[in-house]
Amino acid sequence: MPTAVEPRTETQHSLPAKNRAVAICGPPNVGKSSFFNRLTGLRQKVANYPGITVEKRIGSLRLEDGGQVDLIDLPGIVGMHPRSEDERICVEILRGRSATLPRPAAAILLLDSTNLQAHLRMVPGILGLGLPTLVVLNMADELEARGGSVDTEAVSAQIGVPVVLASAVTGTGMREVVRFLQGSLAPAHKVELPVINNIPGERKWAHSVAAQSSYHAPEPSLWGRRLDRIFLHPVGGPMIFLAVVIAVFQSIFTLAVPIMDAVESAIGVSAGWIGALLPDSMLKGLLLDGVWGGVGSVLVFLPQILILFLFIGVLEDSGYLARAAVIADRSMRAIGLEGRSFIPLLSSYACAIPAVMAARTIENQRDRLATLLVAPLTTCSARLPVYALLIAAFIPERPLLGPFLGTRAAVLLALYAAGFIAACGTAWLLKSMVLRSKPAPFVLQLPAYRWPTIRSLAFRLIDRSKIFLRRAGTVILVTTIVLWFLASVPYQDGEPPPIGESLAGSIGRTIEPLVEPLGLNWKIGIGLITSLAAREVIVGTLGTIYGMEADEGSPALQQALQAELSFGGAIALLMYFAFAMQCMSTVAIVRRETGGWKWPAIQFGYMLALAYSTGFAAYRVFG
């Protein structure tokens, strides 16, 4: 409860020399991470809906005087009464009760200047912590563009701490912020804040502070209303959602193809050079079949992944995603979850790991558990290379809806739908059996619509490429090299053995009986094992195996697959990848978030059983 507040203005002048940690706090979606990124040069994830940051993140800033400040980006809070895990993390750190961080030396309270009356309510609670505080009124650019204004001096005079109007996007006001961090910002006159210990009282106080600071609220945005009318329309809303999704999948196949061809031929040409340059040796084999064949065949899929992320970026930055959650609430409710679970589930289209963490924003612990258990069933981007490869090899392209939807995009769409349906079905099972709970009031704040900026979309793509390339350079590279060695021993008469007789081959044959019921042979079986590290590793593994097998150069991976797999086997393999938890990092994160091995073990077993049985059925049906 906020009580008497005594801002210690005298300590504002110098932060302690050793501990110069400054916490950035404030309500959700006010731009804390954007502000943090602007000051530290880091790329903490930013998107236009509440609940993006669920974990503290520390970044440092060098000051002109040679000193250094550690800034802490925190999850958003709406008051000092945390309910969900992410809010708890924030409040614990602010109160100095965190096990991992000392109490910060100062705080920056970020508020949205376009909604000042409401946000000022946070001030007494934060000042009550007794830390030197700077209040930043962010989104100055929007305030001005929509015709609002505020007298920061007047706000400061009433709350007793310095106040700066700033914009994390345009950089306005950042100089004052840096001066605060250096301790050279003039302190405000000390004020005794009234003792308030109830929210209606805080609201009244906040409104009166705003009124006495000649605060003019900006005009409500008209086009925001209009967009809501379209996106939340009874028929139009869901139709638009569907159209957006179809457009994404179709462009994954059409737009990406020329770029993929270019990447593929670049890899082919460079492999040719190496082939011509190096004498025949083990190293050459390792480079060509192991590295180029393995890592190269995964790299080809980068353009498709980037297209997916471009669309996700537009959806996240515009504020549309929160509307989609509203539309989805009804179906979420039917399976026993709340609409809030939809956002972590959607974000697992990128990757299950942030999705499992995003489940922290769900207050109800049982709902949170159900959400993080089903999240890995939705189709993450690591499945995309596997899907794209098999679809290109086995599904002939034919138009279904003119140029708008072809067979390949339709199959991809069906696979995504299968993952989503499996996630929903599993959630329903969990919620109606083991994780029953009493529904809590459902509240979802909708962010204002914003234009996605080219800059932020470009950063998203660059960051995603880095992640992808890092994975290619670590997990995929290492597994393909290990595989290449296993496939090159034992030597027979001083020559590497035919792959079927190598160590890899005998391991493969040992497990073949397990994968045979799915119509798969031992080579794919090896891929299923290596891809436990990460799903796209199977593409690299097959690239290496087929590359080593071929006498003359590497045949295109697609042709090799067509020769080895029946149509039914291909569908079975797709089913297996749709449902199996082929990702050790996800297992690890679920263990961390649930605090033990029990849930990840159940999850892994359940998903494996689902994958195996649907694969088996698919092979039976499609032959």
Binding site: G79, R83, D228, V235, D329, P441, F442, L446
Partner: protein
């Protein structure tokens, strides 16, 4: 039409503004709803009722918030505080 007899938030028609009187929830839920803007004394307007669903979107304390009907039903409004909002979206 201004429906002055509507006494809980779920019955507030789109385009009408009223003042919140009380919240009938257990303490923790009540605090959370107040932290999100549903504070006794705040004006609230219903912006739209979401298709097919039992959700409605409200404008309160400067933010847009989606609430389920059953939650809204437990938020009572001050009698005869309802007034037609001139610039509200009635469609």
């Amino acid at each position: 039409m201004p429906s002055t007899e509507s006494d809980s938030l779920d019955r507030l028609p789109p385009g009408v503004t009223a003042v919140i009187a009380a919240l009938d929830f257990e303490e923790a839920d009540r605090v959370r709803l107040m932290e999100l803007g549903f504070i006794p004394g705040s004006s609230v307007s219903c912006q739209r009722v979401v298709p097919l669903g039992d959700l409605a979107i409200f404008q309160v304390e400067g933010t847009q918030v989606a609430l389920r009907k059953d939650t809204a039903a437990r938020i009572t409004l001050q009698p005869s505080s309802a007034a037609r909002n001139p610039d509200a979206d009635s469609g």
